[in-house]
């Protein structure tokens, strides 16, 4: 049996009296589109922060294809193929959408020629294609602060995809997006991930999104994985309906 793409073993982290990760052991398999759900404060974002090296666990390990990456800083984990998209888009606010992607591509390829114009790098067409993939090609030359929250979310994810990761961890990719546009944003996103062949893990509060776009769901509670299964299994589970959803999904 092949090793999981990413695996955590007995992760423990406490903030004062709060245990945000309580001996979390979990596997993420290549090709998955895994959703993480759970009430606020359950430790979902903390889990992503540990997996990407932003937080160091007090106990436990994070393995990437069997290699221990726990002590590495985020930049070294990124270089091993793990990218991150954020709940609040982390973009270069004085740059245009295209420039954000070009900078990402330049970072991926290594910063070499100090006299070449960023706009002339070899990856420009590739980045335009990526912008097209997330339906943002028409705003390529606009400074990102001028864009809608939904567009910024998509560009944030495109910036992560520009790194050509094997695994993308996303924190609430549709939060802040108008309800009417959430499914559209997610459709675009899942399409882009499928074309890029990227395994993804996303934290989500909207159960409609989870039901339609995840192929597996992990339910987080009190800093640990309470349940794991297909969306149908999880969203019909009485504990989930009671603790997470509050009411049954239509």
């Amino acid at each position: 049996m092949t090793a999981p793409l990413m695996e955590t073993r007995d992760l423990l982290i406490k903030f004062g009296g709060v245990t945000a990760a309580n001996n979390v052991s979990m596997q993420i398999w290549a090709g998955q589109n895994l959703a993480i759900i759970g009430p606020n404060g359950a430790g979902k974002t903390t889990f992503l922060n540990i997996c990407t090296g932003w937080l160091k666990p007090q106990k436990g390990k994070v393995l990437l294809e069997g290699h221990d990456i726990t002590p590495l800083p985020p930049r070294k984990i990124v270089r091993r193929g793990v990218a991150r998209a954020f709940q609040i888009p982390q973009l270069f606010t004085e740059h245009t959408a295209l420039e954000n992607l070009l900078i990402s591509a330049a970072a991926r390829e290594g910063l070499r020629n100090p006299l070449q114009n960023l706009h002339n790098i070899a990856q420009r067409d590739e980045m335009m294609h990526l912008l097209d993939l997330v339906h943002c090609a028409d705003v390529a030359d606009r400074v990102v602060v001028e864009l809608s929250e939904g567009q910024r979310k998509l560009i944030d994810i495109a910036v992560a995809l520009a790194l050509k990761p094997r695994l993308l961890l996303m924190d609430e990719p549709t939060s802040g997006v108008a309800s009417s546009q959430k499914h559209e944003v997610m459709e675009i996103l899942v399409g882009a991930l499928a074309e890029a062949g990227v395994t993804s893990v996303f934290v989500e509060h909207d159960m409609g999104i989870v039901a339609r776009h995840a192929d597996e769901v992990a339910v987080w509670n009190a800093g640990n994985v309470q349940l794991r299964g297909t969306p149908d299994e999880i969203l019909e589970h009485p504990d989930v309906i009671r603790d997470v959803i509050g009411e049954e999904v239509a």
Partner: protein, 330 residues
């Protein structure tokens, strides 16, 4: 944000380059003609150009949103390296003096930079100031080596092996300063729009994303810090060879503050602004001190206040808006 290099998009910047380029060219030609049309201004302009190159170093850091109140350190180190070199090797070539001075500034930039790039904002600015003042104290106290407050004479270096008279040497260093202003200005503009320069400028807006692009923000800042130290080194070396003496005043905090002052005056973050600011500053300083000896600093301070309050883009910002207004009218 007004300079052509200042906006991150070359497509945005390229909308109005022609008037600026022509004005820049005219300005450079005017400088080239100074020894013929206004020889009495040659020394003053030479000092302004040397200062302008050093201010360019401060400008580089401003692009990353960092202000250094101690960059005179590299200005002074380069000048002292040159002075020590000429003292130990009489007749050393001016290019060797320049190269060794810049090398000294770069080494110092690396050593200081490794420490200060861990900090941002006011801590970054004040730590730079602290390092420059430590060096100033060393220069003042180690009198038997550094000459203390009197400094060290930098006897005229040779030019390609030729010993030159004062007038000839001043002409050579004047044109060398213009060549370096054009060359380093062009390089810095290109660097700003390159992937390396663009990544450097993201320090100002989002270090978290930078880390999640697989880059070390500290290393990125260090690369720009080294460039900035090198530019200050070029300025310091030119100033030392022009004046023929180096003193601890080269690294005094007022010199560092003056660099920041000029950068803001010219247009914070603007390459052309660094030189225009230096020229305006030197001219105002010289004439104000001659005609208003008691209040010239007050005049300069007032001038800066007006710039900050009414023209935050500095002289380049004013020039830009004039060009833009003219373009719109046409």
């Amino acid at each position: 944000m007004t300079d052509i290099s200042q906006n991150s998009t070359s497509s945005r910047a390229s909308r109005r380059p022609s008037a600026r380029t022509l004005l820049t060219l005219a300005g450079v030609l005017l400088l080239v003609a100074v020894p013929l049309i206004a020889p009495t201004m040659q020394l003053l302009i030479n000092l302004a150009l040397a200062k302008g190159i050093a201010v360019l170093g401060v400008t580089v850091l401003l692009r990353a949103g960092q202000v250094s109140f101690g960059h005179a350190l590299f200005f002074g180190i380069s000048a002292y390296v040159g002075a020590f070199l000429v003292a130990s090797m009489p007749g050393a070539d001016m290019m060797l003096v320049l190269a060794c001075g810049v090398l000294g500034a770069l080494v110092a930039g690396l050593l200081v930079g490794l420490f200060v790039v861990r900090y941002r904002g006011i801590f970054f600015g004040m730590l730079n100031l602290a390092f420059s003042m430590i060096f100033w104290s060393i220069l003042e106290k180690f009198y038997h080596i550094t000459g203390g407050a009197d400094g060290i004479r930098l006897t005229r270096p040779t030019v390609l092996g030729l010993e030159m008279e004062r007038g000839g040497f001043e002409l050579v260093i004047f044109y060398l300063s213009i060549a370096l202003m054009v060359g380093l200005g062009w390089f810095t503009l290109r660097w700003f729009v390159s992937p390396v320069g663009q990544v450097f400028q993201t320090i100002k807006t989002n270090e978290t994303r930078l880390e999640y692009l697989g880059l070390s923000p500290r290393r990125v800042l260090l690369s720009g810090y080294m460039l900035s130290a090198g530019l200050c080194g070029v300025g310091g070396s030119l100033m030392a060879m022009t004046q023929g003496v180096v003193t601890p005043e080269y690294v005094w905090w007022v010199r560092s503050a003056e660099m920041v002052f000029i950068a803001v005056l010219g247009g914070a973050g603007s390459v052309r602004g660094a030189f225009i600011g230096a020229l305006v500053y030197e001219i105002v300083r010289i004439y104000a001190s001659a005609y208003a000896g008691d209040i010239w600093q007050l005049l300069l301070g007032g001038f800066l206040l007006v710039i900050i309050l009414f023209a935050p883009g500095g002289i380049m910002g004013i020039a830009d808006s004039l060009i833009h207004r003219k373009g719109t009218r046409q």
